[in-house]
């Protein structure tokens, strides 16, 4: 994708500067506001609950306004460029040097392009709704202030990832995001499971981040710049990319492919792709708004966003046809696609056999992230990003709905102990159903259908990688199936829980309604009839063409995905619909295939596999290190200590006989002398007077003697 730099065009004078151009200079305020409010909240005392939540919500609203201005600027600029006949991507950038060492500079900067603008608006908007929801959900928590401090810090860091134009700045914010994820998963650190989950999330993502960091260092070493775009000399621009392509790394990879794969390892860690997905289900130990914001809508999507951001690097060397269509693919993108597709099916399989309402959604998130990765690999930035945006809305909706259910059922999370909630929690049920249908990809009405369809279409059309298409289709069936299972367990049948469920307060249901609206409405910008989203990201004009809906290819695809969805929904309803089984009763699927069920229920033994390989290895290594410490290093330390001890003994002798002896003698002399002198001071006034008289006489004598000639 050839990107245009609007600054150059303004300079040539043939394009007027857009009215909101100031936003480019002030873009840094978008992440700075929430970070600032996090700083202020961290100084507040525990009892300033209202103030802290208002600060967090207020600052994020400010960021939302700014990012809407930024988006409007981008749309305006795009229309201008189209008018003047520039039919390609563009970006506004502001770069500055952080510090200089030797001949290289460490540059930071921010970027405003369609990708970052739309992502910033999404993060601010979903974030704001979840902040508002949290004021209801966390109402009774004594650490309310701390919660909002962390949430605000997270929002700021995430927005930093979004607008970063420097891979170093992106990495810093990336790590900050990981930190807040750790803090928020372990928010209820009194629970040992939450503390363990926090550590697991932090360490697992760290594995990916090591590779990411290696990729950054390699990229910096090869291109000499940390910036993505810098008027032609950034690392994502033609010159650097062709340099990277010419370099050959090991295993037949070019340097660009190898760096791309290293960066993808970081993205896989954050986005829970195979084999680093194990932390995400455990991360559900955190409060539900955190699961919705961080572990469904935004942070886990950061990995997908990162791949979209470095897409020029991932796709460097991709052969193109004369019209600019992809005529081939690259190794890096093949890996991304396969891992994404495998993750999509793998996680969907496990989601079928989970009983915790949030865990099902967590595996569903992993599966959907796999879809996004596959979409990026197969269809480019627009396909993956569209699913990211729609997914952020409907998955946040599902998580918040799940939170509302958990809240209403007195902290019950096992779907077998719910049931019949469709009458008791009407608002939650309706919005949850919208989210569920969007996730399943129910045809034509819901946004999830259009975004998932775009991925399937890209997979179908791809002439180079065939397998993922079938994997993704299978994943889609499973998605519809497990969501039907969950919804029928939770909302249909008879109530099986103890105690009466109640609907959640308005402050929690209102965000659900808003998210549900968007879960439907967002589909409108990505239909084949009016592919505005794709055109927007790729910088060309979007045309309204109703005929695209009736093309043979599309009709075939539509038929396929409709069949898929109804197959999943039908199977699910057949097995679980209105059955209301007892909690102790085996699952309907368990009766059919007990061995398969057990494997799925135990998450396909990935955790156990890590237990006997990685963790066992670490235990063994720790034991070796322990032995080394005790025997080898310990021995050296003991020897050194012995030498010093001997030296100290010698010193002691010297002290006792040399220094102390002299000192003691001197003291003795002093005290004897003092005894003699003290006899004069016997306390009698007359003695003193006598001495005084003698002294006066002596003085007088001396005086007389000296005056006499």
């Amino acid at each position: 994708m050839l990107a245009t730099d609007p600054l150059l065009l303004y300079q040539f004078g043939n394009i007027p500067t857009p009215p909101q151009a100031w936003i480019v200079r002030w873009l840094w305020l978008i992440p700075a506001l929430p970070i600032l409010s996090a700083g202020i909240i961290s100084l507040l005392k525990q009892r300033f609950r209202r103030l802290s939540s208002s600060l967090a919500i207020g600052s994020l609203s400010g960021s939302l306004l700014l990012s809407i201005v930024a988006l409007s600027h981008v749309i305006y600029t795009r229309n201008l460029l189209l008018q003047f006949g520039f039919n390609s991507g563009f970006h506004d950038i502001v770069n500055f040097t952080w510090f200089q060492f030797g001949n290289s500079a460490v540059d930071l900067g921010w970027i405003l392009d369609p990708l970052s603008a739309i992502m910033a608006v999404m993060v601010c908007f979903v974030g704001l709704l979840i902040f508002i929801y949290s004021t209801g959900y966390m109402e009774h928590d004594e650490n309310f202030t701390r919660f909002f401090c962390f949430l605000s810090l997270f929002a700021g860091a995430m927005l930093g990832v979004v607008i970063a134009n420097s891979i170093l700045l992106l990495f810093m914010c990336w790590e900050l995001v990981g930190l807040t994820s750790y803090l928020l998963i372990g928010f209820w650190y009194q629970k040992p499971s939450a503390a363990a989950a926090a550590k697991k999330a932090f360490i697992t993502t760290r594995v990916g981040d090591i590779f990411f960091l290696l990729g950054i260092v390699w990229l910096f070493a090869q291109t000499g710049t940390l910036l993505f775009y810098n008027h032609g000399s950034g690392s994502m621009e033609g010159l650097a990319l062709s340099g990277l392509l010419a370099q050959h790394a090991a295993l037949g990879l070019t340097a660009s492919g190898a760096i791309g794969l290293l960066i993808f390892a970081g993205a896989a860690g954050k986005s829970g792709q195979l084999p680093l997905h194990v932390w995400l289900p455990d991360a559900m130990e955190g409060p539900t708004p955190v699961s919705a914001l961080i572990h469904a809508a935004t942070m886990v999507a950061a990995g997908v966003y990162l791949i979209a951001r470095v897409y020029p690097l991932m796709s460097a060397g991709m052969p193109l046809t004369a019209t600019g269509e992809a005529a081939g693919t690259t190794t890096a993108l093949i890996v991304v696609t396969w891992i994404g597709a495998a993750t999509a099916v793998f996680a969907a399989l496990i989601a079928v056999a989970q009983n915790d309402i949030k865990r099902i959604l967590a595996y569903s998130t992993i599966s959907q992230l796999g879809y996004m990765m596959a979409g990026l690999g197969l269809g480019g930035v627009a396909v993956g990003m569209f699913h990211l945006i729609t997914h952020a809305f409907f998955k946040a909706l599902l998580f918040l709905g799940a939170g509302s259910v958990i809240h209403g059922c007195h902290e019950e999370q096992d779907i077998r102990r719910m049931g019949g909630l469709k009458t008791q929690m009407r608002a939650t049920f309706l919005t949850y159903a919208v989210g569920m249908l969007a996730l399943c990809g129910f045809p034509l009405v819901f946004s999830g259908f259009w975004s998932k369809d775009a991925i399937l279409e890209a997979a179908h059309k791809s002439a180079f990688i065939k397998g993922p298409y079938y994997l993704l289709i299978f994943g889609a069936v499973l998605t519809a199936f497990y969501m039907t299972r969950q919804v029928s367990y939770v909302f249909f049948g008879q109530a099986r829980g103890d105690g009466h469920a109640h609907e959640s307060p308005r402050v929690m249901t209102a965000p659900l309604a808003i998210l549900a609206f968007f879960a439907v409405a967002l589909g409108a910008i990505g239909t084949p009839a009016w592919p505005w989203f794709r055109a927007f990201l790729e910088g060309h004009a979007a045309s309204f063409d109703m005929h695209a809906l009736f093309e043979a290819d599309f009709a075939k695809l539509l038929a396929t995905s409709t069949v898929i969805v109804f197959l999943g929904l039908g199977l699910g309803w057949l097995l679980y619909g209105n059955k209301s089984p007892k909690a102790e009763e085996p699952d309907a699927l368990e009766k059919a295939a007990p061995a398969l069920w057990a494997a799925l229920r135990d998450r396909l033994y990935v955790d156990e596999l890590y237990g006997v390989t990685v963790i066992a290895f670490y235990y063994w290594w720790a034991r070796v290190a322990d032995w080394l410490d005790r025997r080898v290093w310990g021995g050296i330390v003991v020897a050194v200590a012995w030498v010093f001890k001997m030296f100290a003994q010698f010193n002691r002798l010297l002290d006792m006989h040399g220094v102390d002896g002299t000192f003691d003698k001197a003291c003795e002399e002093l005290s004897t002398g003092g005894g003699i002198v003290s006899r004069v001071q016997n306390g009698r006034a007359q003695t003193y007077l006598r001495i005084l008289a003698f002294a006066v006489i002596a003085l007088a004598a001396i005086l007389i003697w000296s005056v006499r000639p």
Binding site: Q681, G683, A685, A693
Partner: protein, 104 residues
């Protein structure tokens, strides 16, 4: 005798010596005080004598010194007697040899 001044000075020196001897040898605190008063008066006598035979006897300097000195001596005697009474109340004696607590 070359000048009457010498006579006065000799008398004053004698008076001072008597006072000093009294202050040094008497055991009774009252007597020691009296000795000290004698020494002070010897000094007063010197003031007056030196003034009277000075080049400017019309300026009343020596007289003024003597008067101040007497006033101070009176105050000192009052303080001294007060101390003696306080010590007597405290220890029941005025014998100076028994009072040896002025050690450091």
């Amino acid at each position: 005798m070359s000048s009457p001044l010498t006579g006065y000075l000799v008398v004053a020196a004698l008076l001072f010596s008597i006072g000093l001897a009294g202050a040094l040898v008497r055991r009774n605190a009252i007597m020691v005080l009296i000795g000290i008063e004698l020494m002070l008066n010897a000094a007063n006598l010197n003031f007056i004598a030196f003034w009277r035979y000075s080049p400017h006897p019309e300026a009343l300097t020596g007289m003024m010194f003597a008067i101040f000195s007497i006033a101070v001596a009176a105050a000192e005697a009052a303080v001294g007697l007060g101390l003696v009474i306080a010590i007597h109340r405290h220890t029941g004696t005025t014998d100076l040899d028994k009072m040896n607590r002025m050690k450091g």
